[in-house]
Symmetry: D2
Subunit: 325 residues, 4 copies
């Protein structure tokens, strides 16, 4: 399914793995300030913050998977099957369709604090983009440099959780994901001490034994624990190269390898279609793909951000190998 995370060195980085058994025509897409965002049940945004992220463009509309705006606010939608519950139109609230949620948030706000306030009056309304693009069951992580929140529209209503882990995967609901971390509080990056029994002479036979108990399967609850442990303990230098590398290493710790997650009874397998890492301070969107481990980058500030036309760069796939001889 998917994993999103944040990491901060000198700059702040936001990104995600997209794990699926198929790929739409994803493109790195820059939406400039004067691209007119229409909303089905809310006022349009004629001008707004510029946005960069990964999207499928349909009928000229950028369906963003994850994106960052020019103010450094970031947002990603991740699969949330069985739990996502969108609502009928509510007359007293701002009704936003799930596919409009990222543009509506990133177009207007600069910080998570502002978003928190705006969400108080929001209703995620059950409207699809089109018959060909039906509703996806999603939940979202919204982050700035300081904080992250998780937004879930479930049967009980719209839930907004503080997310101190700054990581999001999929099911179960975020309160259970957070609770589950308690069961791993004893894990450590350090060498374990023998607390089993002082009378037994036990042996640290390998480095890394402080992490024994960390799950390694690719289910969403296990990926959450593994990604949080990796992220919270990550260390990196401040340079762009070091920071990006550490970010992709964090996402790599929960990547999905072809063959390991079979979908239903078919011969389909989920893989990590792409991994992204956006420098939210500089507006540069980096990514790798399952088959292209070289980092590709797009800089939003190299586009005409005052324009009204989407700039888009198809994903580069296939290993780009540097031969030395």
């Amino acid at each position: 399914m998917c994993t999103a995370t944040n990491y901060t060195t000198k700059d702040h980085y936001f990104g995600r793995n997209l794990d699926l058994e198929f790929s739409y025509h994803e493109e790195v897409t820059v939406t400039p300030r004067n691209f007119r965002f229409e909303f089905r049940k809310a006022e349009p945004l004629a001008s707004h913050h510029a946005i960069i992220g990964m999207a499928t463009i349909v009928d000229g509309y950028p369906l963003y998977y994850d994106a960052t705006n020019e103010k450094g606010l970031s947002m990603a939608g991740l699969n949330f099957p069985e739990n996502a519950d969108y609502k009928p139109e509510a007359p007293d609230r701002t009704n936003i369709a799930p596919f409009e949620f990222i543009p509506w948030i990133l177009g207007q706000f600069e910080t998570v604090a502002e978003v928190r306030d705006a969400l108080a009056g929001l209703n995620l309304v059950k409207i699809n983009f089109s018959d060909a693009y039906p509703l996806s069951p999603l939940h979202w992580i919204i982050s700035d440099r300081e904080a992250s929140i998780t937004v879930e529209s479930v049967a009980e209503g719209l839930k907004v959780y503080e997310n101190p882990t700054q990581v999001l995967t999929n099911n179960p609901t975020f309160d259970i994901q957070l609770f589950n971390l308690n069961n791993f509080m004893h894990l450590s990056t350090r060498t374990p001490e023998n607390t089993f029994s002082k009378e037994l002479d036990l042996d640290v036979y390998s480095r890394g034994m402080g992490g024994i108990g960390l799950p390694g399967d690719l289910s969403s609850a296990s990926r959450f624990v593994k990604a949080v442990f990796t992220r919270m303990n990550s260390l990196s230098g401040d340079s762009e190269s070091e920071s990006i590398s550490q970010f992709f290493q964090i996402l790599g710790s929960v990547a999905q390898q072809r063959g390991c997650v079979q979908v239903g009874d078919k011969d389909d397998f989920e893989i990590t279609i792409y991994s992204s890492c956006c420098n939210t301070d500089k507006g540069i969107y980096y990514y790798t793909t399952y088959e292209n481990s070289q980092v590709t980058g797009v800089d939003m500030h190299k586009e005409d951000l005052d324009g009204s036309t989407l700039a888009h760069y198809p994903m580069i796939k296939g290993q780009s190998i540097r031969m030395e001889n």
Copy 2:
């Protein structure tokens, strides 16, 4: 510590992660056929199979970490602390120092079957390269397209294990590593069925739940289980790009992220210094580094393999980013 593996599509691939808290001056090194290999206690090899692999070159001698010869035979040494036990010189056997083991094997043999025979008369003798390069406690994986063996010199003597997993990590001894896989036989890439209780209505709330129980920490025993599961279930197309990508994805599943494995009480952390993948049929050695995810390649057949001088290419580090705008 380290992980080595094999994977076969149309061609056969062999490689490894080198996980350490520091880096020597590793270089991709091609040893041509007429480079004279001296051995401390055995006859020299004036001419031999050409070899490509990662090495530190000291005083003109290639100290290989992992390598492949022009016949497709491959070999890697991995850390084996507390267990590796090298022996005094044995008059009735061929006495090879651990640092000579890769050249001696890859210089002469074409298949694992040949190696198995040769090992019958071998003694791994307790001789270091120099005071500055003391003995490393190692064990080895030796592979051709068809089979792999694990070689361990332990207190009881030289043990040679068939290795049907074609994966090697570190401690414990390989018999225990293989035995431990029995405890994971129920894991699956498929959706689990409810065998807990027919009377309870349990829910497959995520893809990948068939793998629940797979360890995700970075200790050597856990990496072994995770890498074997990933490798044995891997699926890939036959092209070079697809094959290499799948190989690096397998190694990525057990990569070590900076911060997750603290060494002793110091602020040192093991990381995956490099990941290698050698096309053993074509003699092309590919690698990535912790901070450079682009694949770099060196083709042994582009060198003068009848020469007598080492060709060597320092590791390319630092992200090589392809900017799109």
Copy 3:
């Protein structure tokens, strides 16, 4: 902490482990029909169903831990720290103090269905028995032969959960406990098949390997999984001896041994003070204690159930050994 469960052969049985680091003066206590139950904020019950169970009698009032009435309805209170949230008096509801909850329910109702209805108007009011007997944070399991429910008064209000497992332990809240069972759906009482890899020849080296992954520690979430697995897969003959034995075996699977659960930093350790098993059809209450494994029984129908005075039998402690010579 504690574990409660149900089991049905020819008759229906209900009981629990009480796990604590100390023991009050628990007694098997029969409350006859005409013992007057006063309630702090509700109408008294001058006559009611007779009740048998384990209680501490304070000032003539039976503070029941777990009990069954003459109609076969049963109820037990289990520790629920941090989560239990009792409320101020609510004018429009029936206000029952936690210590009154078992008498109020068992005094009036015959089935879980009746209880479900009654709970709709209930408020668990924040009133302690006395300064010497402060409020305990509890949640409850209420069972008849057909069904069980779990009742939790938490910050959001009074929650009533269907409990198909018929097991209750302690934290976390019951919705999370139930959800967590999904992670164990692959466990089985049968011999596992090798789904890890067809290419590896893995070995079923022990009976019971289908259960690998079942937790064995004594935390409340782990005891819940273990007790549910044991209960749901239990098999027993129909006789009283067989049924009771199987019941105590289920409770034994999650018993707490002295030394294994340290309380805080003190040299106090939780142990299973007593295990109970009530034949709810016959009104016979059986129990064992940590140090007395012989089953002791009290038959409510041997008491004057039309009386107004409590009958009580102090717990028999200390091994009662049958010497054969």
Copy 4:
């Protein structure tokens, strides 16, 4: 399968669970000093130490499952399928059949130190008791108050392991069982500290969380870890009642409940047929059975130990309930 253990308070105790899907006609059996022990390939013992333990008596010969002699030396045989490898007669060694092993050891020796010496010249010879009583694949624990050893006759020969855990279950071989404990060194009876991440506010929501990771399934490797943890951390008063109780609690932590371990594809299930606890200082053998939790005792010193005839007491089965009214 089975679990054996030791525990010492003022006195020393030795015992085991016998886990099987069927029961032979087990009896507590006292062999007095002048019962003549014949051996198939070794000199008979016309007089010897008196022995008490659980046995099936066939043709007047006590086939002991577990036993203790009047000097306090104890021994139990536990199932060891696939691994036990008995040998042809060896002319230069003492050839003892597996079914003779307990009488031969307990008849002659007082301490584990003496046994260690005697085992140097021993050969476990492949001779069955009779066609109706074929060879059982077994390994053994031999204990005195100070120490325990594990004896395994495997393909490589007779192995004698020091056993600091004083626990034995079944497969795998004892070296692997001991090694596996290293993976649990971080378990503790204490409340865990949050070493996962200082930046996350994790919650100790239950007592006993220091043991998270302890296995709870009934396979032999899991029972070993659970029983060792329970035993090594056990605390008990010194009295006979307290000591026995703690011993049976340790064994109870790895008892097998009917329904939880299916044997093959049949509707057979392993259960804990009996649990024994011998006070090796006083020569009193206590036991409980699956269906009789009351402790039954037999005192060897109440028999004529200078006699030549077996004294035997059939196992008491079926709950012996103490009714209070």
